[in-house]
Each structure stands twice: as structure tokens, then as C-alpha cells.
Symmetry: C2
Subunit: 418 residues, 2 copies
């Protein structure tokens, strides 16, 4: 206990101290640091790859499954991509210092100005590039960051964090700007998420288990990211030539991500004409279908869905399909099972489309488009630090602006309250 | 246990159901309900006053202190003021449905639109007018509200909540729009703040004890309000003719509120000339002074301050005073003890003023003005539901906009991700 108390305390103090200076660091200085970080990755390629292969070897020994090992693996090309991503952050607009300005009748001049949050703690899993991405976005927005990645990637993360932190410091960023928690036991996470005195926000990124642990136990404010049980509703007025490609794209283009489709709702009126076409296409793409009774009646190769299926984020080539009476039943199903991430309707009917947009409560609500577009880059925001599925502070893709708060600066000349 | 489980569950379900409809209720309909609520208070004046006198009698029997009883007491004039405040909310702009609009290169048309948060739980203390204010602001911003006021005001709150809820429903607002938790035991608060499935945000309003209980135990996202250890720093270049009225105003105009001054920092260079003038004025206003050693040396009537004084929100006619070496020591003291609510510097020096504005981290940072201006009305926002001292979601005075979130509406014509 005492070991992590004192070590985390020191990290918290360092981060808070760094944040105090970072808060008013100019954009030019931050960009220079980012450029140095980008270069440092290239210069340290060998060291990073060696550390990464130690992680891979350890993971293989532990019998960790292949998909996880793939997420863990770094290549020379991957390192160059991380370096380029750092360069992209240089070109994003710095939100710090932007704001509104007005004057009160008593002559007080008011500025509402964007400022950094302060200290951000990122809790994430196996992908080592999150270490670099998160550090870059936090630095650009003037925040100190405490990184806590998964145990599987610890050797890679140690090198990555050290290399970029040294590069940032070499360009005048304060010590403590970028810190990695090298101890990966779960006890430490429990401790980090209760450090209200030193940490302004915790952002968990990863599976539902990690996110729920953080949400349930944190006393530091949390921005919940991620889980997506996304639905597509093919309504009776749908154009099948739009519906089929959208469903295939949303389900199969990258099934392991949060904006991928998990449940297809089909209007009863068109179920018999639509489902055989849709089912054939899904089969071509090796998608397993878990259907309601009606779906199974139409598609003999569908597996009967259980209640649990409607509440499952497969993140895999599996799709649950339910036939619904009408728009209202579709929206009721979404209301019940949606994680409020991304929902889409396929329809040519104006009023139906408008009702769906208005009444469905989710970060992103689509008409005639794939849910896969919910992403900072595809929305036009540049890089993202995660996709918020909560309503407070940020909703949907979070970019640099979401890593800031505001403060009011008030210019007086002796005003008092009467 | 089972009693509150089932009753709170029902309230949560009702609120969530109401919120689903309130989300797209038009501004006209909401304003009509607010007007009916305003009228209902006038029509029920006798009943409200009778209930309130039951609360007052019970409080007197329990020997509750006078200042609390005064906050509890309603008068005919007070009821008319509550009714007028409801009328004022009618005239505030409805943030729901506002937003930005852009088009992506692939033709997707994107709308980022303000929508209500959903269900807001307000946890507050003795002042029954919070019942009416909070209900009005939540309704105007399209949120359902669950109100949980203090035990002392329960009889008044029961009548107030019933009367305004009935008025709102009579104008077409869904049942469950405004609900009061009639059980005032602390166990119920513990339960409410963990109802993530039904409640989108908890806003505690009251003393530091209540707020900390909520922050420490809630799993529902919280917006922390209130505690203000506010500082004024009279710098060596201060104009005493501004400094003295500002300090007197910030300390004495309404000492029991969060934006009142608690600590005065005085630059060593001017301590001997300034403190005798300031001290005399504070004495005229019956302010007890708790000073550092240097202050006590200059002002013989000052009581020596302990370490605890610097960390205390007196909410009373007491002021702690500390002599500091310079701007840096003043900012270090503020950094250590500030609750990041409101801070002010009195100076005529441009660069000193700019450094203070830039480097002090608080919701509101002033130059040459009283901290008492930190208030939704005085900032020009209209009514406020509280003053956020956290950085996430909202900071400073929170009005209607802070009771909303956003959703993205995306208009496609078959776009898929490539």
C-alpha cells in the first residue's frame, strides 16, 4: 500500500505542478514539443520494437488470444504512423485562449475563455499507440497527462512514454507533462481514480469491464467512452439499394469497434422481401445471424436470438435481427437496448426520418448512412481522444476542445455589487 | 429497504418516461406550463403558507438555529416573488434545438444540436424556493426533475411540488415531469445518487457536507456546486479607493453566500499603509479579523489566524488576512487554498493584472471588482441553477444551456465508410 501511495502521490504532485505552467504555454511552444516527440519516435524505433517484442513474447507465453496480440504489435510502419499522427496534432487548432467577450451594463468587461482541464488520467488497455495519441492531444490542449495502459503493453509503453516525455521536456515543457504509471496492478487503478486533489478528469478507454469499473468506483469526474450497441432500422419505405450496403458496411467494415452495427431492426411490412436479400449478403460476408422468431421463419439459417443478444455488443461478425411492427416499436427497442452511441434509420419517408432524428436519444443519429461515421476524423474534428457515450461535458467524438474547460476573466475598475 | 427501492424505482421510471416526451416539447408549450405554474402559486398561497408554518413550528420545537429558520420561512411576498421568478424563466431563450451545421466532403450533412440532459436530480437543503426555481429551469430546458429537499422544509416542499406539478400537467406536460421525494432520510439520498439507469445528472446544492457526500458516493455524474473560499489580493500598485470598497462589499454585502470574500491577501510593500485603513473600515462593519503574525503586528485587534483559517469558508462576518511578499506568493497561497470559485486582484499595474488573470485557476478571476458578481443574473445569463466549481461540463454560473447536452443529427443518402 505505502509504495503506491507515495509513488502515485508524487506523480500527482508532478502533474499538477506541470499543469499550472502548461495552462498558459503558447501554441508555438506546444507545437515545437509535438514535433520533437514525432521525431523522437523515429529515432528510437529500434528500442521501441525491442520493447514491443518483449511484450509480444510475454503475451504469447501467457496464451493471450491472437486478436489481442495483434492490437499489441508494433511495426516499423506503425511507428512511422504514430509519428505522423503527432505531426497531424501540430496542425489542429489550439482551443486554449479562444472565447466570447461581452460588457455588462455596469461596465464590467467579461471574457469567457477556454482553458485546459488541468490533469487528465487515461486508463486504457492493450494498444500502445494510445500512449502516444493521448499524450499528444493532452499536451496540445495544455493538459498534463497520467497514462495507465494495460499490463500486456507495459514494456512498449515504458519506452514510448519515456521517449516522448524526454522530447517534450527538451523543448521546454515542464517535467511531469507526460507520465506513465509503470505498475499495472488493478489496485493502482482504484487509487488513481480517487485522486481528486491531483486529477481533474479520468478517461477510461477499452472494454465494457474496464469502463464500468472506473465509472462505479471513481470519485474524480469521469468521461465515459465507448460501448456501442448500435442499431440500424430498415423502415418500410427504405431503398434496399441503400439499406443493404449500409448494413454490410456498418457490420463488417471493422466489426471490432464501438460504432459497428450490432442489431438490425426490420419493418414487418418489408421483412419477407428484404430479409432474404439482406441475409444472402450477410452470409457472403460470413456474418452469423441471431434472429427473432419471425426472422428465423424467413431465414432458415438464422440462429434463434435470446434476450441477451439484444443487450450484447458482439464486436464480431455476428448480427442480431429483429422484425418490428413499425417505427414506434423500433424506437422502443432502441430506447430499451441502445447504449446511446450511434443509431441509423434507412427510409425514404421524410416524416419518419424526422421523427427518428428527433426522438432517438444517442450521440449520433443517422438517416441513410452507416454508423461507422461516428469518429472525430470523419466528423471533421481531427484526432479524437475517445467517443463519449455520456451526456455531461462531451457527447460523441471528443477532440481537443473537449479536453478544455472555461474560465471567466472579468475586467473591472472598482465595481461593487449593490 | 424494499419500500424505498420500489418507490424510487417508480419515480425513476416516471421521470425517464416523461423525459422522453419533454425532449421534443416545443418552447411555446413549455412556456404555457411555466405560466400556469406561476399562477398556481398565487392561487395556492394560503395552503403553502399553512404548510410552511407547520415546518417552522417543527423547526422551532427542534431548536433549529434562527438563520436556518429564516431561510425556511415563506411569506406572501416571498410566494409572489417565486411566482415572478417563474415568469422570468418564460422570457429566457430556450437552448434546446439550437446548434451548428456543416457538410462533409462525402455529402453527409451534419447538425450538432442542443438537447436536454434527460432526468436531473436536485439534492438541496432548507430553502423551499429551490423547489420552484429548479423545477422551472429543468422544465424550460426540457428535463424531468426529481427534487429532494431538506427534512426541515418537507411540508412546504410537498405542497409546492404538488401545486406546480399539477399546473404543468394541466398544460400538457407529461406526468413525472416534476417529482418530489417525500422521504427525507439520508438512505434515500444514497440510493438516488446511484440510479444511473434513470438519472442523467445529480446537482447537489447546499453546504460543503452535503456536496461532499454526493461527490464521494454518487455513481451518476455530478455537477459540484458551491463552496467558495474566495480571495482578494491587494497588490502594491492598488488604488486604495478601489480596494477598500471592494473588500467591504465582497465580505459584508451578503456574507452567507459562496461568492463572498473569505481571505484578504495584502502585499508586504503596502501592508503598513493599507491595513490600518482597511482594518478600521472592517471594524465599522463588525468584521472579525483573523490575521497572520504580520497582520496582528499592524492591527492589534486582529485575532491570530491558525492554519485552519486559510482553508475555512466562514460564510460569516469573519475575514482572514495574510501579508504576502509579492504576486507570486499571493498566487501560491490561492493555488493552495482556493476552491476555484472566484478570486480578485486590486492593482493598477497592467502586467500584474494580466498575470493574475492568466495564472489563477478559478471559475471567475477578477481585476478591480468584487467577487460578489459571480452569479448567473449578474453575468447576464438570467436565472441560474447553481454555480459549478468543477471543470467538467460547466464552470461558474449554470443557466439553461448547462442543463442541456448535444446530439449529432446526420443526413445521408446512402454513404458508407470506405
Amino acid at each position: 500500500m505505502s509504495n503506491f501511495d507515495s509513488e502515485l502521490l508524487k506523480m500527482g504532485q508532478n502533474a499538477k505542478k506541470a499543469a499550472r505552467k502548461l495552462a498558459y504555454m503558447g501554441t508555438d511552444a506546444k507545437n515545437e514539443a509535438l514535433m520533437a516527440m514525432a521525431q523522437s519516435l523515429i529515432l528510437s524505433e529500434d528500442e521501441i520494437l525491442r520493447a514491443n517484442s518483449r511484450d509480444i513474447t510475454a503475451a504469447e507465453k501467457k496464451g493471450i488470444k491472437k486478436s489481442l496480440i495483434n492490437r499489441l504489435r508494433l511495426t516499423s510502419e506503425g511507428i512511422h504512423q504514430m509519428s505522423e499522427a503527432l505531426g497531424d496534432v501540430v496542425h489542429l487548432a489550439d482551443p486554449v485562449g479562444e472565447g466570447d467577450f461581452w460588457t455588462r451594463p455596469n461596465g464590467l468587461r467579461m471574457q469567457k475563455m477556454r482553458v485546459p482541464l488541468g490533469v487528465v488520467a487515461m486508463i486504457y488497455e492493450a494498444r500502445p499507440n494510445v500512449t502516444v495519441d493521448a499524450a499528444a492531444l493532452c499536451l496540445k490542449s495544455g493538459n498534463a497527462v497520467i497514462l495507465r495502459g494495460g499490463a500486456e503493453a507495459i514494456e512498449s509503453n515504458k519506452v514510448l512514454a519515456r521517449v516522448i516525455a524526454e522530447a517534450a521536456e527538451s523543448k521546454g515543457m515542464p517535467a511531469g507533462t507526460i507520465q506513465l504509471v509503470e505498475e499495472t496492478s488493478h489496485d493502482w487503478v482504484q487509487q488513481i481514480i480517487k485522486m481528486n486533489k491531483y486529477i481533474d478528469v479520468v478517461i477510461p478507454r477499452g472494454g465494457a469491464g474496464l469502463i464500468q469499473t472506473v465509472v462505479q468506483n471513481a470519485t474524480v469526474p469521469v468521461i465515459e467512452t465507448g460501448t456501442g450497441i448500435c442499431h440500424a432500422f430498415v423502415e418500410r419505405n427504405a431503398d434496399f439499394n441503400k439499406a443493404i450496403p449500409i448494413v454490410i458496411n456498418a457490420k463488417t467494415q471493422k466489426p471490432g469497434v464501438c460504432n459497428a452495427l450490432e442489431t438490425l431492426l426490420v419493418d414487418q411490412k418489408i421483412a419477407e422481401s428484404f430479409l432474404p436479400l439482406m441475409g444472402a449478403e450477410l452470409q457472403k460476408h460470413n456474418v452469423e445471424i441471431r434472429g427473432c422468431a419471425e426472422t428465423c421463419g424467413i431465414l432458415p439459417y438464422a440462429v434463434p436470438a435470446t434476450e441477451e443478444d439484444w443487450a450484447t455488443e458482439y464486436l464480431d461478425l455476428i448480427l442480431s435481427i429483429k422484425v418490428v411492427k413499425n417505427l414506434d416499436e423500433a424506437m422502443d427497442h432502441i430506447y430499451e437496448y441502445s447504449t446511446k452511441h450511434s443509431e441509423t434509420i434507412i427510409t425514404e419517408n421524410y416524416t419518419v426520418a424526422q421523427r427518428f432524428l428527433r426522438e432517438v436519444d444517442a450521440a449520433a443519429v443517422y438517416v441513410n448512412a452507416s454508423t461507422r461515421f461516428t469518429d472525430g476524423g470523419r466528423f471533421g474534428f481531427g484526432a479524437e481522444i475517445g467517443i463519449s457515450t455520456q451526456k455531461l461535458h462531451a457527447r460523441g467524438p471528443m477532440g481537443l476542445k473537449e479536453l478544455t474547460t472555461v474560465k471567466y476573466l472579468i475586467y473591472g475598475d472598482g465595481q461593487i455589487v449593490k
